[in-house]
Symmetry: C2
């Protein structure tokens, strides 16, 4: 019998009514002739409520105790979901991360899955049960409760899919799938049927936050195809899988947009070993997440270094970097927000030239000035003024023929 | 180093502020030179909230899933309590029932403790940790989550006290201890310093619901003395322990009162084997909890049988018993509510006569009519009109010299 993994996020199980809705879907999937494992998150709002409680008893709660606390959220959902399925005439059993055999390292609040022993899941499936597994959590060899950090429930689903060699892994969300561009920005954006792991990774790192990169990387590593789809209807979503020759025929898969960016230029950085590294190790130590970095060839013995980051990081950047700029004998630090990033992604780019030229031409025709350019093997990203981003996205979307 | 077990109920940990208060008390106990294990219940209201959620997804949730659901309540409290102690500069670690080594049978929602392996608790105590253990829950050998039913957190505390051979087991409640009578009824009721297990059991079964009988029986079985005291101050409470010669010197330890009782008399029950048994097995099968039973000697070939129960049970009793009354050829069923039970309890009664006489005299002098009488080795109970119960309790309290 085919094994299907279904994962439902916090919004999909946010109320008792929605849990009953999920229960019916899961039951329908089983009745269509499948063995089903259903991974659920905490009901929306529950995790935030628990975090708020923790702040009321402790300024800095230990990671171990946060895991004991937060794991109750998913445990509540598995029990309710199993009850709901049983009340609809099905046969379901709930499993905590530990009971599902999800073994992790001991890095509390951001544990890594070390191993899954799917013995219990297999046994219950063979007995005809639907297994309802708590996402986001696991257990160490020593029996400590751990959580997997952000996006952890997706990771649970994909890891179980790998462990039981599932025939399908369905990630249910509040969107229909992955789009060629954000439909709120580009009205004629189209749902993508199939996308390669690497393309989704580039889209995700460029603002299309349907899935955490970590889960996609895990799926890629273990070769687990999965489908992102909506929990509010039965439409097919977007399948994410290994790249195939067929997938490469499309040059550009999609366009992603990231607003709220800021750019920093440090002028006259001495062109000697260690100067640039000093800047970026300082930022890394302080936990400032930076994105695009541009440094031009040095002709005069000094160079200008620019980089971008989320606008919210600007203040922290400033506080750790101003001393460093003086110490390495650079010029000044010029900050600018109100910018955005547009990325064009597609594995077909590898074998097709002219993508950059076509993008620059489309933006140029629209009178949009490109402030920075960054490229990877399957992505071209440009930094432009934020108030031009919608226009730019529509121009590029049309230029690459992405509309339906 | 002495080992102290402290148990705090739902009211004592009902808010973040109260959890911080408990944390401080626990920490003070450790700093006074003790190893401390703290057993906590779910925050007040949490369990009811979870039950309400379950009703919204299922009319009749399975016991197994109820346990998965309800056990999150205590798990939340242990994490918060450990965080609170750590934030006050202490060193605490939370343990779920499973982590604390509490092994139960598989009777979900009312599991019995089968064994406790206190290895983890001992190890953490030796490392200087305060152990915060989730009350009310355990795990089967197969790794299923179980709960212990009503009063389960007291049971957890007493079982751990037995397993680690604790020097003291303190049950914190919202009352000061066990009283000679309910102070809301008898204003000069006095807190009892020491009481025997059997006395508390008789008081508990007669309406003094400070502790569930089950926990007291468990403590008696394993010889674990414990103290019932208030979590809102540092006054000594009531110590409950084996009876000693000293304890027997007091004839009457206390008086307990149970309101909201109802009485049923079945007239002209044929005086042949099986008639009475048919009545009470029917009630037992239907889960009707009955209390006092009185049957007089039969002189005429038939007899009247009377019994009491909580008023709320009356309707269920009626629905299952009316047919039986006809089938066994008895007369009629006479129901009466508006009655109450007063019990006088003391192990000293065994060796002292005249207790019943003194009680009947006191009530008689007050013009209070006794409708039924029931006695055990250490208890005399009378059924009277509910509107006379306060007067009766005060008369008896004075007659036996229980005031301070």
């Amino acid at each position: 019998m085919p094994i299907i993994i279904q994962k439902y996020g916090g919004t999909s199980v946010g109320t008792p009514e929605r849990i009953l809705n999920v229960a019916q879907r899961v039951l329908d999937t089983q009745r269509a002739g499948n063995s089903v494992v259903c991974v659920v998150s905490a009901m929306s709002g529950v995790t935030d409520g628990l975090i708020k409680l923790s702040k009321q008893v402790s300024q800095k709660p230990s990671d171990r105790e946060m895991d004991v606390l937060l794991s109750t959220g998913e445990q509540t959902t598995i029990a309710l979901t199993a009850m709901a399925i049983n009340s609809l005439g099905g046969k379901a059993i709930s499993l905590t991360g530990a009971q599902a055999g999800i073994l992790t390292d001991g890095l509390h609040t951001k544990a890594k899955i070390a191993n899954i022993s799917p013995r219990q899941i297999r046994k219950h499936l063979e007995e005809g049960f639907i297994c309802i597994v708590a996402g986001f959590q696991g257990q160490t060899l020593q029996g400590q409760i751990t959580t997997l950090g952000r996006g952890g429930s997706d990771l649970t689903a994909i890891a179980i899919a790998a462990a039981v060699r599932a025939d399908n892994c369905e990630i249910y969300t509040d969107v229909e799938g992955i789009y060629t561009c954000d439909p709120r920005i580009v009205p004629d954006a189209r749902k993508i049927d199939t996308i390669a792991y690497d393309e989704l990774l580039e889209m995700a790192s460029s603002g299309s936050k349907v899935m955490q990169s970590r889960s996609v990387e895990f799926a890629k590593k273990f070769g687990v195809p999965f489908e992102v789809r909506s929990s509010f209807n039965t439409n097919r979503g977007t399948t994410v899988k290994e790249e195939t020759p067929g997938l490469e025929n499309v040059v550009v898969r999609g366009i992603s947009v990231e607003r709220n960016q800021a750019k920093v230029t440090i002028t006259n950085v001495p062109d000697r070993p260690g100067a640039a590294s000093r800047i970026f190790s300082t930022l890394s130590d302080a936990g400032v997440v930076i994105d695009v970095i541009v440094q031009n060839v040095s002709l005069s013995g000094t160079t200008d270094i620019s980089f971008t980051m989320n606008k919210d990081e600007l203040e922290k950047m400033d506080s750790v970097l101003s001393t460093v700029v003086r110490e390495i004998g650079a010029g000044e630090m010029v900050k600018k927000d109100g910018i955005a990033k547009l990325s064009v992604v597609g594995i077909g780019m590898r074998s097709h030239s002219g993508v950059a030229a076509k993008l620059f031409e489309a933006l140029g025709n629209g009178g949009i000035n490109i402030q920075m350019i960054s490229t990877s093997e399957i992505k071209i990203a440009v930094i432009i003024d934020e108030d031009k981003i919608a226009e730019a996205a529509n121009l590029a979307h049309t230029a690459f023929g992405l509309a339906g």
